[in-house]
């Protein structure tokens, strides 16, 4: 009697498991891209922007021909110092992570509002190229005027 109940319980559980797998949200990749930009002021007075983009695949299947393109940095405001604003990979498996970073030098002063980077990829079930946008970045205060250094005050006190 107990064995019968256990067997039917097992069958019910297996059924529920398969049903839940079938109704799981999609079998496509879900690209979550995180774009971060930080400012570094060099001793020479120039300002560098370090941009890093992390691409996660939170979906259930592989994304192929993943291509990243970040056109949100206009040529008249920024110069590319190292790296490239675009990159492509062959595939991104489910649960995987791809990273890319590059550095820019700022030319113009002012507040800069960056647009998200665009990631395109292909999936086997659809012919069209899929698109995903990364996170936007917080406004950057490029080449902001820094307050005068405190150390000059010490010289005044000593002298």
């Amino acid at each position: 009697m107990a064995r019968l109940i256990r067997n039917s319980l097992m069958k019910a559980l297996i059924l529920i498991f398969f049903a839940s797998v079938a109704t799981a949200t999609g079998d496509a990749p879900f690209i979550v891209a995180h774009k971060k930009a930080s400012l570094t002021r060099l001793k020479s007075g120039s300002e560098r922007v370090s941009v890093s983009i992390d691409i996660y695949n939170q979906g259930f299947s592989t994304a192929y021909d993943v291509s990243l393109l970040d056109d949100s940095w206009p040529q008249d405001m920024f110069d590319i110092v190292s790296g490239n604003t675009s990159r492509s990979w062959e595939r991104l498996d489910a649960g995987g992570l791809l990273s890319h970073s590059f550095e820019l030098e700022a030319k113009k002063q002012g507040m800069f509002y960056g647009a998200p980077a665009v990631i395109t990829f292909r999936i086997p079930t659809k012919a069209a190229l899929q698109e995903a946008y990364s996170t936007p970045i917080l406004p950057l205060d490029v080449l902001a005027e820094r307050p005068p250094e405190k150390k000059f005050d010490w010289v005044k006190v000593a002298g």
Partner: protein
């Protein structure tokens, strides 16, 4: 006697404190004004949408990811970031209005611990057949006790001027104490631990010595530098001592 008095004193002190004990009560609702970060100018009609309860739109998928933080550790009082992925499977573009979240007790979902600041968006839209990611930076109150809590995150958006709301996360987070490894408490505890170990070692050492002394033969009794050999008592020749001993010898 002194130990007895001490014992009575301490027991008396304990008994005296009983009426002064108070059970610690914690506030179950902490409404803190936490700083959020805004990405642009705020829409005028945002207040109509934030806090309302709308249904999720069909054809919109959401996902939540804690970047580089799979254990979902949230230091109390410090900024934590999470990413909200939105997929617009429909035909019309989607406008994100705001992302809001709240912290609840894990065993009773109705008990609200803290409402986190909503992040409003001015010009965030997701075109059809596209996925987009939005950041949400939040900080729980720094007075929140470390432990497991429930975080409920929802995103409010509109499609064709109709508001919708989706829950992108309804699960647990681990709140931990912010702060480095070296703190007053940890330094004190480590020093106390070391001193206790040293004291224990000294006591064991003393016990060993006591035991080893017992197993030895009867300790040597110090007799001084002199000897009791009668033939060495040359200087007593001719004195009363010598005469008495020779007398007793004769008697024998």
């Amino acid at each position: 006697m002194a130990i007895k008095i001490l014992r009575v004193f301490f027991i008396g002190l304990l008994l005296l404190q009983f009426p002064l004990f108070q059970v610690v009560r914690c506030q179950s609702e902490i409404e803190a004004d936490v700083e959020g970060s805004e990405l642009g100018i705020v829409r005028e009609d945002v207040q109509d949408f934030v806090g309302g309860n709308f249904k999720p739109a069909p054809g919109v998928e959401t996902i939540c990811l804690f970047p580089k933080n799979s254990a979902k550790v949230v230091p109390a009082g410090e900024k934590t970031e999470l990413l909200v992925g939105m997929e617009n499977v429909g035909q019309s573009p989607l406008n994100i209005i705001a992302i809001e979240a709240s912290v609840h007790l894990p065993f009773d979902h109705r008990m609200l611990v803290q409402n986190l600041t909503a992040q409003v968006f001015d010009n965030a839209s997701v075109p059809p057949s596209t996925q987009a990611t939005f950041p949400y930076i939040f900080a729980v109150s720094k007075f929140l006790q470390p432990g497991t809590f429930d975080l409920v995150g929802t995103v409010v958006y509109e499609i064709n001027q109709s508001p919708y709301q989706s829950t992108f996360y309804n699960g647990t987070i681990e709140v931990v104490e912010a702060g480095g490894f070296v703190s007053v408490e940890s330094v004190f505890l480590v020093t106390l631990g070391i001193s206790l170990v040293v004291l224990l070692g000294l006591w064991i050492h003393g016990q060993f010595k006591r035991i080893s002394q017992k197993t030895k033969a009867a300790p040597k009794v110090e007799v001084g530098t002199g000897t009791t050999d009668a033939s060495m008592d040359e200087w007593l020749q001719g004195t009363a001592y010598n005469q008495s001993s020779s007398k007793s010898k004769k008697k024998k």
